[in-house]
């Protein structure tokens, strides 16, 4: 299995970018659910961990675009 380094980097950045969009959407949807029905999400999922994922993948996505 041979990958070109450049295409592999591009592949990883695309994955991180996809992960950012999905995690951001998830975070926003879960936040709305939490506002409507308090503790529906937060009793089982750590919002801080989810937000950390969004921020980290978001920073990488922005840096990639620059």
């Amino acid at each position: 299995m041979i990958f070109k380094k450049e295409s592999l980097n591009k592949f990883i950045l695309h994955i991180i970018s996809d992960f950012f969009y999905v995690s951001l959407t998830t975070f926003l949807v879960f936040s709305v659910i939490e506002l409507v029905e308090p503790r529906f999400v937060s009793a089982f999922i750590n919002f801080n961990a989810l937000l950390t994922l969004v921020v980290i993948t978001g920073i990488i996505t922005i840096m990639k675009k620059d």
Partner: protein, 179 residues
Amino acid sequence: MINLGKKEKIIRVVFILIPFLALGWLIQKNFVFSGVMEATYNFDKNNAFISILKPAGRALGVEKNNNGDYTQRVIIDPVYFDLYMPTKFKKAYFMFVFKNSGERGIKVGPQVFGSGWNYHLEDLNCDKKIGDWCVGEISFDLEKTYKKDKKVNFIISSPGLDVSGEEIELTQIKVILSK
């Protein structure tokens, strides 16, 4: 060369599926289709279902003992904790792991109706021992309990605890809720 574009599409589909699976899991957790939910509070970190004992001052802060167990000591009676229930349950089976330094009896119970100080108290006995710790088991009917924001308030009472200088130490509260 391996087609990375195809792999990317597969990973993208997996990423999109994860939130939907998470939402399904959350619905299952909140509506408890199995009819039974279990929560254990070991005092080591905040628990989503069982709160810390309060008020502060009557119940001291959480401490870690020499065996690595986290405990909370009660020095003035009564203290309270909240039980969060994501959906309606009929019965609650509690298991308390505690130490009672005196012979003074301990009573535990849920707030039963209204916003007044009405609690249905049951004796917490030392049913069995695990090392130095007592294990006490109590069941409550939750249908007549007072619920606010999906929470039921419970009292732990041992009258005269402050005067006697004795204390109650808890290291685990486990609850099994059933519909």
